[in-house]
């Protein structure tokens, strides 16, 4: 079942003519000509679509919180900042099929009553910005954007905004600051963007994938969408796979397939690269807890772990993780967990905006301490020190970046403490190029 990527490999799908030949922009026609804005929101509510940027908040519900004071403009801002390590699904979708996003933007803007909308794309993806701008121009030329769209009286202008290289601008209030031409410092909430967002006006911020899915929902109805998936994990999800599988890349899956199928079936990742075994997975982007092979494949109840919000988080943080952004990072037995954790800690240290001291100082400490463990200068107390620092950051910051920095470190130690200890106890061996700790009897040991 493919919704977003059904036609993605059709040659020329990035042009409006080919896109329309494959049914493109029918959702715009249907919504604008036959539905009231609230009816579109109602369908999205019924669909059970949840935000695909990481937090999984129901999209229709978010839309219904949008304040609508008379005479005040409202904005829709698409979050295409995509900077969470492991995540490259929005990049793929926008690069291959820009009109899929643009169509979703028109439908969603119409539902929200926005007459100006922005797509905020990370600045590194300038070539994707060029692709989007070309596609937007095509849509203007065909009367699908601009004044009086399809003769309906509805006006919409759509612009692409480049970022400047800062992970924190993926956080929605930092993104809005950035779009206002400022540093990307997250705002204190409340007020929420739904009340005071861009230029202090009511604003909805949604991920690329969330917005793109709304066209299918308009075309086929919310109920049809809700039939795909399992329970509260409705619909399809783009999963971007990196690491040691045979076929890394972006896959659109119906939510609810088993993790085992996803990793080993030829339809998806095709298994671990030849001659190697699965050691660990980070299932939803660098921020979510890493799990060792046994726990990612099965829950502690012995049930198959499914690719759903609920199943991946089964067991809480003790034995579970999160679906997050769908950045699925696969590691085989050649992976040094300490090194991988170091790159993540360094990432969050680099990307902390510095506004709150627990995050600014804590990420610095974690980076420094893991660095010394990785480089053979660690002490046994350092391991508990890391756990302690992570705890002190968690829940004590303005935005969730602090948590996102703390969780991967805490989880790596929770599940691979022996590997950290081995680095401390055997610095000479551990610092040899390619050296990896092998846990006795572990399923991933060859």
């Amino acid at each position: 079942m493919k919704i977003l990527t059904q036609h993605i490999d059709v040659p020329g799908i990035e042009t409006i003519d080919v896109y329309r030949k494959h049914g493109g922009y029918s959702a715009v026609e249907k919504a604008i000509k036959t539905m009231a804005p609230d009816e579109v929101t109602e369908e999205v509510k019924k669909s059970g679509l949840r935000g695909r940027g990481g937090a999984g908040f129901p999209v229709g519900m978010k839309w219904s919180f949008l304040a609508k004071p008379e005479g005040v403009p409202r904005y829709l801002v698409c979050n295409a900042d995509e900077s969470e390590p492991g995540t490259f699904k929005d990049h793929y979708l926008m690069m291959k099929s820009p009109h899929t996003l643009i169509e979703g933007m028109i439908v969603s803007s119409y539902a929200l009553g926005a007459n100006t909308s922005y797509i905020y794309v990370r600045g590194e993806l300038m070539y994707v910005i060029n692709i989007l701008e070309k596609a937007i121009q095509e849509a203007y030329d065909k009367g699908l954007l601009g004044k009086n769209i399809l003769g309906s009286g509805y006006d919409l202008d759509l612009f692409v905004q480049p970022g400047g290289g800062a992970y924190i601008c993926g956080e929605e209030t930092a993104l809005l600051e950035s779009l206002e031409g400022k540093r990307g410092n997250p705002r204190n909430k409340p007020p929420f963007p739904a009340v005071k967002g861009l230029y202090q006006c009511p604003t909805v911020v949604n991920n690329v994938e969330s917005i793109a899915a709304t066209s299918w929902i308009v075309n086929n109805g919310g109920e049809e969408y809700a039939k795909i998936g399992v329970g509260r994990s409705a619909g399809t999800k783009l999963i971007s796979v990196s690491g040691h599988v045979r076929k890394p890349g972006v896959y659109e899956i119906p939510l609810g397939i088993t993790v085992e199928d996803f990793i080993y079936s030829d339809e998806w990742c095709g298994g671990i690269r030849d001659g190697h075994k699965l050691k660990a997975v980070v299932a939803g982007g660098s921020s979510v807890p890493i799990l060792p092979a046994e726990l990612i494949l099965k829950t502690t109840n012995g049930e198959n772990r499914l690719m759903t919000y609920e199943s991946l988080s089964d067991g809480g943080f003790a034995t579970g993780t999160m679906l997050g952004s769908g950045g699925f990072i696969v590691m085989d037995e050649t992976t040094c967990i300490v090194h991988n954790t170091l790159t993540f800690a360094r990432f969050y240290h680099h990307e902390s905006c510095g506004q709150c001291s627990p995050c600014r100082e804590g990420t610095g400490w974690m980076d420094k301490v893991i660095h010394r463990i990785e480089h053979g200068k660690g002490r046994m107390e350092d391991i508990d020190l890391l756990v302690d620092v992570a705890k002190k950051i968690e829940g004590n910051t303005i935005c969730p970046l602090g948590d996102a920095a703390a969780w991967p470190v805490a989880a790596a130690i929770r599940h691979f403490r022996d590997e950290f200890e081995w680095h401390v106890k055997h610095p000479e061996e551990a610092t040899k190029p390619g050296a990896v700790f092998m846990r006795e009897g572990a399923s991933w040991t060859l």
């Binding site: 492991g86 100006t116 612009f159 290289g165 800062a166 660098s286």
Partner: protein, 164 residues
């Protein structure tokens, strides 16, 4: 190279600047800052204080407002750089895909350390965080172009091509 007298976008870029400013509501022209800084960097390779002052003038905002922003975002070069800036991704997934070896090769080939510029001034090598191309790693970017699934051989070919 850039002093206040000579800092001026060519006419067609200026036209683009004015179009960009129109994307935002009246009085919110500061929103155009990031797009215009990208144009400025494409024009002058790096953002000298003179360039930033010029941008402030274009947008009718204070120079400090431009400095604040330019220093916050990692894509902006605040020091002179070589003709080609190679920005390679150092984050976990790219390391899993074999990044370490490829990047070491790159630096050795150019005889530079991270942050350095090759002796002939052609190449500056910078380390950056995840570029949203993790499954196609190892990856680096040179200006707007992504180079993906890198191998040491590919790196050799790219450097050769750009050295011509």
């Amino acid at each position: 190279m850039t002093n206040t007298q000579t800092v001026q976008f060519p006419a067609d870029t200026l036209e683009r600047v004015h179009k960009i400013i129109k994307r935002y509501p009246e009085g919110k022209q500061k929103s155009a800052l990031l797009p215009i800084l990208h144009l400025a960097q494409a024009e002058w390779r790096w953002l000298s204080p003179e360039v930033m002052d010029y941008v402030a003038g274009l947008l009718n905002i204070k120079p400090i407002e431009v400095y604040e922003v330019a220093t916050f975002y990692t894509m902006f070069h605040l020091e002179p750089v070589g003709e080609h800036v190679i920005e390679y991704c150092r984050t976990g997934p790219c390391c899993l895909m074999g990044g370490g070896e490829v990047y070491d090769h790159l630096k050795k080939k150019l005889g530079v350390d991270t942050g350095g510029t090759s002796a002939d001034g052609k190449f500056t090598v910078k380390e950056v965080e995840c570029l949203a191309a993790c499954g196609w790693g190892p990856v680096f970017q040179i200006r707007e172009k992504y180079y993906m699934n890198l191998t040491t051989e590919k790196v050799d070919a790219i450097i050769e091509e750009l050295s011509k």
